[in-house]
């Protein structure tokens, strides 16, 4: 009767086994630091342009909407404050993670999926290498290092996007915008803005690796894994955003 639950339960179990193995490998030799650096370049530097663009335009759009709403109450000067809080706490981490997920969870799933269907994963095992240690752990470390950094960059560029709109459309003075932007943030916001991308980094890298490594069925299977990786990581990012936000809201000093 409960057979329909079997597949998702097994999937969750397999995911946790992968997560456990990848974490355990952090403390086990050999460490593939060359692969970590290559992945940091691919995931971090490779995603810089799209996350910067996303950050800039989300900050600009937010300033556009908020500036108009605040104008009704004569509070246009608080545009920078609203933009910075929403960007740092919520939109920066979520949108950056979604963009990185779209680019890299799919990339990881298709790369590992192709390796799986062409027996490269089997070959790796036959040649004495643990595929999780060689392929998963470096991607996990690289994403955990780069996603928070990309988020900070996207946040700053988003604030700049908000400034462009506030300055040219709402005629806000630079000093007024930047001082409210800066003062609006406290360490609690910064912590929230860094914890989120750090947790999302495990979702993006491990979901991509998980679907890649369980690929079956040739090139069609690779396409299926890629889609599943993007959809699953995207949904998980939103679900986790809710729970992490809830945790920070309740633990907030204010």
């Amino acid at each position: 009767m409960l057979d329909f639950l079997k597949a998702p339960v097994i999937a969750i179990q397999e995911f946790y086994v992968l997560f456990g193995s990848a974490m355990r490998n952090l403390f086990r030799k050999p460490h593939y630091w060359d692969d970590v650096l290559i992945q940091m370049d691919t995931i971090g530097v490779g995603s810089l342009w799209i996350t910067s663009m996303t950050g800039f335009f989300s900050g600009a759009v937010m300033a556009l909407q908020m500036g108009k709403a605040l104008q009704q109450y004569g509070q246009t000067g608080k545009t920078g404050q609203v933009v910075s809080i929403i960007l740092v706490r919520e939109l920066g981490p979520a949108l950056t993670a979604l963009m990185v997920s779209g680019r890299n969870a799919s990339g990881i799933a298709s790369e590992l999926g192709s390796m799986k269907v062409t027996e490269q994963i089997d070959a790796m095992r036959a040649l004495g290498t643990d595929p999780i240690q060689k392929l998963v752990t470096p991607r996990m470390i690289a994403t955990a290092a780069m996603l928070p950094a990309l988020t900070v960059i996207a946040d700053l560029i988003g604030m700049f996007g908000g400034f462009i709109v506030a300055y040219y459309i709402y005629a806000l003075q630079p000093r007024e915008y930047w001082s409210t932007t800066w003062k609006a943030l406290d360490w609690h916001d910064v912590a929230e803005g860094l914890v989120k991308p750090f947790i999302f980094s495990f979702v993006v890298s491990l979901v991509g690796c998980y679907y890649g490594l369980r690929t079956t069925g040739g090139t069609q299977g690779v396409g299926r894994s890629t889609t599943q990786a993007v959809v699953t990581s995207g949904v998980l990012i939103f679900v986790l955003t809710f729970f992490i936000t809830k945790f920070f809201v309740y633990s907030s000093p204010q």
């Binding site: 192709s114 390796m115 027996e119 089997d122 070959a123 095992r125 036959a126 040649l127 004495g128 643990d130």
Partner: protein, 276 residues
Amino acid sequence: MAGGNGTGGNGTRDSILRFEHVTVRFDQETALDDVSFEVRRGETRIILGAAGSGKSVLLKAAIGLVPVASGQVFLFDQPAANLPEKEMYAIRGKVGMAFQESALFDSMTIAQNVAYPLLNQPSIAVKPDEARSKVKQTLEFVELGETLTKFPSELSGGMRRRAAIARAVVTKPPLLLYDSPTAGLDPITAHTIIELIIKERDTDNTTTLVVTHRYQDGSLVANFRYNSQSGSLEPFSETSTRFMVMREGKLIFEGSQDELEASPDSYVQKFVKHTN
């Protein structure tokens, strides 16, 4: 098992690979069904069968790449079925495997691919300088000396197979497994690959298992040997080659080439005649 003489029970002193009632299942599907046989040192074994008959699974089960549902696999007289992955690495260091579609790492050059087992196999791990000279020597052995810096995607199908063979043999393992080495190749290239397998077997006196669906490949391996002085193949009658035929996961025949050709089993007969 028509014509079969699988040993089951205990192996002999020279046992390199032994299957004892091995069954492999994927979900509800049985890929290997109660398979037993033994390969001794220096022997050549040709495993014939149609697509989906379990030939490749048999090779993967031999080195622990697929889990065994029941039975036991002995590699070099050590139980090897369902061992933890880390323990398998030491045993796999003594086995070379050439995969069906070459399975070369796309992101690495041919030299890096061939050097991979030398540098990463925990039980081998040689110094980079030594690895470089061995790689060069092995690629020259498979006549790919000019491809060191090329990537797999830059090579033809036949060249990729040769590079995969180079990667399998570079550590000079005592047991070599070839999974459909000629599948998808034109007859001339397929012949070159089989020549290479014979050359490797006779140069290093390696125990060799060749999975194929082409009877003529098996026949060539069984009846020719490599003459290192003339550098070519020559007919050879004192053969230590045995044949096996797989059908739907079952080992339905095991014996010599003469026994194979004389087998009363209609499937074996059809298979041999069809591919002859």
